[in-house]
Amino acid sequence: MSAAEEVVTEAPAIEAVPKRAMTLGLGTSLVVLAALAIAPLFVKNFIIFQMTMLLIYALAVLALNILTGGSGQFSLGQSAFYAVGAYTSAILMEHFGMNYALTLPIAGVICFAFGFVFGQPALRLSGVYLALATFALAVAMPQLLKLGFFEHWTGGVQGLVVTKPDAPFGLPMSQDMWLYYFTLVIAIGIYIASINLLRSRSGRAFMAIRDNEIAASAMGVDVALYKTLAFGVSAGITGVAGGLGAIAVQFVAPDGYTITLAISLFLGMVVGGVGWLPGSIVGSAFIIFVPNIAEGISKGLSGAVFGVLLFLVIFLVPHGARQVAMVAQQMLGKLKKN
C-alpha cells in the first residue's frame, strides 16, 4: 500500500434489505388496493385530482427506490427525467395530436434511453460525486427547456397547455375520476412489474451490486451493465410518471421541474423507507400533503414547520414507513399468538 492511500472499509450507502422484506403481504396489498379503488367515489373532484397526483408521485418515488434501494445508486436528478417524460407526452399530444395513452410508453422509452446514457458517465462516480452529477442534471434541465433552440417545440418559458382527456366509451364519470382510475391501473401495473423485476435475476444483480460491488463483480455480475440498466429503468418509470403528471396538471413549464421536485422525491423515498417499494405511496403522501399541513399551521413559518415535521419523522422512525410497517407486523404477530 502506498503512502498516499487511505484504506477505508466503507459501509454500503444503505442497509441491506432482504428481498422478501421489500414488498407487502398479499392480504395487506388487497386492502390497500380496495381502499384506493373505492375512495374516489366519495370525494370531491379536487381531492380526486390530489389522489391522482399522489399516485403519480408515488410512481416517481418508486422509480428512485429501484435505483437507490435496489442498486444502491443515489440520484438527486429525478426531476430531469420527470421533466423529459412530461415534455414528451405534452409535445406528442399537442404538436402531433397523438392519443394521451399512447404517449406514455413513448415517454417511458425515451426516458429509459436517456437514463441509460446518463448512467454511463455515472458509472465512474459514487456517493457524493454521483449526487453532485445528478444534481447538476436537475439544475440544468429547466434552463435547457427554456433554450430558444427548442422553443418551437417546448413553448419556451411559457410552456405548453395540455388538453385533459374525457372518459372513453361514454363512461359516466368526470375527467378527474377517469384520469384517476387510468393512473391507478398504470401504477398497479408498474408496481407489480417492479416487484417482479427485483425478484428476477436482474433484481438479484442490482442488490448484489448495492451490497458489495466488488463481490458482485467477482461473482460474474456485469456491474456496468446492471448499474446503467438500473438508471434506465428508474428513468423510464419516472418518465411515465412525468407524462401522467403533464396530463393531470394540463400544463408543462420549465419551472415546474426544478431541483425542488428532485429533492421532494428524495424525501419521499427516505420517509417511505429506502428499498421498501410499498413505502413509495407513503412517501408520496408526505411530500404532497405535509407542505399543505405546514402552511396550515403557520403561513410565515411553513418552511420551518415542514422541517420540524421532517425531523420528527426521521427521529422517530429513521427507517421510514418500512419501520412502522415492521413494528405493526410484529404487534399483529404477537396478538395472533395470544
Binding site: M1, A4, E5, E6, V7, V8, T9, E10, A13, I14, E15, T68, F74, P121, R124, L125, V128, Y129, A131, L132, A133, F135, A136, V139, A140, Q143, L144, K146, I214, A215, I263, F266, L267, M269, V270, V271, V274, G300, L301, S302, G303, A304, V305, F306, G307, V308, L310, F311, I314, F315, P318, H319
Partner: protein, 292 residues
C-alpha cells in the same frame, strides 16, 4: 488577450466567494463524511446575526467577532441536538436531516428579517483595487482573508494537539477512541468550526450579493462544486477549486456562444463532472482505497 486576462481576474474575484464556502464544506465533510446541504443557510443566518448586531450599534469588527463565537457555539448546538442522535441512522436519513435544517433556517430567517434585500458593509471598501475596474478592494480583501484562513487552518491541524486529535478522529474513529479521543466531541467541534468559517464566508459575500435569506443558494452549489473539484479531503484543494470554478464560469460565459447567465451554472457543473470522471478523487484529494 486583454479580455481574457480581465475575465480571469474577474473569475478570481468571484472565485474567492466560492473558495470561502468550499472551505466550510470541506471542514464538515472531514468531520462527518457528509455534505451539509444546510451549510449555506447557516452562513446566511450568521450573517444576519452580525447585521443585527451592527444595527444595534456594535462596531463592525466587534460584530464580526461576536458572530464567529455565536456561530461556533450554534454549530455545536445543532450537532448535539439534531445530528448526534442520527449518527447511527442510514446516510440518506442524514441527508434528509440536512434538507430539514435548510428549510427551518431559511424560513426562520425570513420571518425574523423578512425577504427584502439589505445592504451589507465591507471593511475593505469598494473602490477599484490597484486601479483595476475588475477587482474591487473588497474582493481583494476577500481573497486575502481566504488565504489567511487557509494558513490558519493548516497551522491548526498540523501543529496543535486538538487539531491532531480531530484529524485522527476523522481518519480512524475506532483507533482514535482507543487512544482516548472523544470522537463524538471532535465531530461537534468540526461542526462549530465549519459554522464559524461559514459565517466568515457569509459576511464576506454579503456586500457582493446583498443580504437576504436566499442569498446563499447559488453560492453553496458553487461551493460544493469547488470542494468536490479540489478533493473533499483537502482544504487547499477546496480553495484552489473555488478559484478555478470562478475563472471557468467567467470564461465560459465569455467564450462559449449561447451561454448566457442562465447556462453558466450547468456548464460549470458539467465541467466539474468531467474532471471527476477523469480524476474521481478531485485535484488534490486522496484516492480512497477500499478494503474488500
Amino acid at each position: 488577450m486583454e479580455l481574457f486576462t480581465n475575465q480571469v481576474l474577474a473569475g478570481i474575484a468571484t472565485g474567492a466567494i466560492y473558495a470561502c464556502m468550499a472551505l466550510a464544506v470541506v471542514m464538515i465533510f472531514q468531520a462527518i463524511d457528509h455534505l451539509n446541504f444546510a451549510q449555506g443557510e447557516m452562513a446566511m443566518f450568521s450573517t444576519f446575526i452580525s447585521w443585527q448586531l451592527m444595527q444595534w450599534g456594535l462596531p463592525y469588527w466587534w460584530a464580526f467577532l461576536a458572530t464567529l463565537i455565536i456561530s461556533f457555539v450554534g454549530g455545536i448546538a445543532i450537532e448535539r441536538l439534531l445530528f448526534k442522535p442520527l449518527a447511527k441512522a442510514p446516510i440518506l436519513t442524514n441527508v434528509a436531516g440536512f434538507i430539514a435544517l435548510f428549510a427551518i433556517v431559511n424560513s426562520v430567517a425570513g420571518l425574523i428579517w423578512d425577504f427584502t434585500i439589505k445592504q451589507y458593509p465591507s471593511p475593505f471598501g469598494s473602490s477599484p483595487f490597484l486601479g483595476s475596474q475588475l477587482i474591487s478592494t473588497h474582493q481583494a480583501g476577500m481573497i486575502g482573508v481566504t488565504i489567511l484562513l487557509l494558513i490558519a487552518l493548516y497551522l491548526f491541524f498540523q501543529f496543535t494537539r486538538i487539531g491532531l486529535a480531530m484529524r485522527a478522529a476523522a481518519s480512524l474513529p475506532e483507533s482514535a477512541r482507543l487512544v482516548g479521543i472523544n470522537t463524538s466531541w471532535m465531530i461537534a467541534l468540526g461542526w462549530g468550526m465549519a459554522s464559524a468559517i461559514g459565517a466568515i464566508a457569509g459576511i464576506l459575500i454579503a456586500p457582493v450579493v446583498f443580504l437576504e435569506p436566499n442569498m446563499m443558494g447559488g453560492v453553496l452549489i458553487y461551493g460544493f462544486a469547488a470542494a468536490v473539484l479540489g478533493g473533499l479531503s483537502s482544504p487547499l484543494g477546496a480553495v484552489i477549486g473555488g478559484f478555478l470554478v470562478g475563472i471557468f464560469e467567467n470564461l465560459a460565459g465569455t467564450y462559449i456562444p449561447g451561454v448566457g447567465n442562465e447556462l453558466k451554472l450547468p456548464i460549470a457543473l458539467a465541467l466539474i463532472i468531467t474532471v471527476l470522471v477523469v480524476k474521481p478523487a478531485g485535484l488534490l484529494g486522496r484516492p480512497i482505497v477500499k478494503r474488500v
